[in-house]
């Protein structure tokens, strides 16, 4: 999908108008953010906005996240066991310490 973010009030107004006028090409809309379908028409709308507002419109392309493709099992395991912890107050780094779970810094250093 195409993630379109408006950074000025004028750009936000344009984004809202475009998203409202082309609802069938819009997957989701939040305040000043819209997800357009990844079609040429969605790209056309995003480019129109950027043409009009320059850098006040950010366009990024998103892709589906499949945790079974994107991350190693240890990361999924860490999420599962941490959310299943008994003591709510314990921060993750302390939780991971002593268990066979990846520390935060290690995960921060690995790009998907």
């Amino acid at each position: 999908m195409l993630l379109v973010i408006a950074y000025t009030r004028a750009a936000r107004t344009s984004l809202r108008n475009v998203a409202r006028a082309h609802e069938d090409s819009v997957v989701r809309r939040f305040g000043r953010v819209a997800l357009f379908e990844a079609t040429e028409f969605g790209a056309f709308q995003a480019l129109r906005l950027r043409e009009k507002h320059g850098e006040a419109i950010q366009v990024e392309r998103t892709r589906p996240f499949n945790e079974f493709e994107a991350v190693r099992p240890a990361v999924r395991e860490a999420a599962r066991t941490y959310e299943d912890r008994e003591t709510a107050a314990v921060p993750y780094d302390r939780f991971a310490d002593g268990r066979d779970l990846p520390p935060p810094e290690a995960m921060k250093g690995v790009e998907l």
Binding site: T8, G54, E55, A56
Partner: protein, 290 residues
């Protein structure tokens, strides 16, 4: 004249002078011939320098913000009544509890600037380098196949071998260029991100400013609402309405003009008053009547 105090015409209504062609008229209330374009008069009030050489010129104090709304009263005019009323309140020096916050947000906005940037050319360079790399990869593969065939079927293997070396060399250079283009892009993208952070701060301030302005406007309108209702009821030629904010724009503009402190002349192109003098007395402002 029914107004009293600040609502009524005071001795401090300034005298203005209006020149049409060679004829000059002075006073607090001036009537001009019907063939004078009211819009030209308004223009002459708002930009006296631009109008100085034209057929119409007005010598009068400079208009304030409320003049934009009620400085040209004519049938069919539009009016943002509450905005105009709030500006009338400001012209009288009324304040709101939001003014300090408004000033602070305006200062912060004035101090925040975001330079324009455009990284389109960098994106294009990355895409073009990638396309060229892909093209050369395919070419290397093709020439490899050709070399294989030349060796198996007795072609000119030496020539093809040279062709392959050249293609590989080109590919290697293009891959280097492509990597450099991507690195340059990564760098400018970081800067673009910083610009977005600043834009984000500006937008938040602007949203805050808009909210404060709305609150301030509501406060100002509230303070003048009763006087406004009285002025609407007192306006000559007005139809009775239950809510004074539903008054027709001419009536509303006259009422707001009466409440405002106006030293620049109001151009009247309506027949609500018997004379320019009557209009000036009712409005408490200099008047040019067409």
């Amino acid at each position: 004249m029914t107004g009293t105090g600040v609502d009524g015409a005071g001795a401090n209504v300034p005298t203005i002078s209006v020149r049409i062609g060679d004829a000059v008229r002075c006073g607090r209330a001036v009537t001009v011939a019907v063939d004078v374009d009211p819009a030209a008069l308004v223009e002459a009030v708002r930009s006296p320098d631009a109008a100085a050489d034209g057929r119409v010129a007005v010598d009068a104090p400079a208009p304030g913000p409320v003049h934009e709304h009620v400085g040209h009263v004519r049938p069919g005019m539009g009016l943002r009544t509450r905005t105009a009323l709030a500006r009338a309140a400001r012209s009288r020096g009324l304040e709101t509890p939001h003014d300090d916050a408004l000033a602070s947000v305006r200062d912060r906005l004035a101090a925040t600037s975001v330079e324009e940037g455009d990284i389109t050319s960098r994106r294009r360079a990355v895409a073009e380098a990638a396309t060229e790399t892909e093209r050369l990869r395919e070419r290397v593969a093709t020439v490899r196949g050709k070399l294989q065939a030349a060796r198996e079927h007795g072609g000119d293997a030496a020539a093809v071998s040279e062709e392959l070396a050249s293609a590989v060399r080109q590919l290697s250079e293009t891959e280097t260029d492509s990597l450099a283009a991507r690195q340059r892009f990564e760098r400018v993208r970081e800067h673009a991100r910083e610009r977005r952070d600043r834009r984000e701060r500006v937008r938040k301030l602007e949203d805050k400013l808009a909210n404060l302005e709305r609150d301030a406007r509501a406060h100002l309108v509230e303070q003048l609402a009763d006087r406004y209702a009285d002025a609407v009821a007192d306006a000559p030629g007005a139809e009775q309405v239950a809510d004074p904010f539903d008054a027709d724009p001419v009536t509303a503009a006259l009422a707001i003009g009466r409440l405002a402190s106006l030293s620049a002349p109001v151009v009247l192109a309506c027949d609500r008053f018997a004379s320019a003098a009557a209009a000036s007395r009712w409005l408490g402002a200099p008047v040019v009547r067409v």
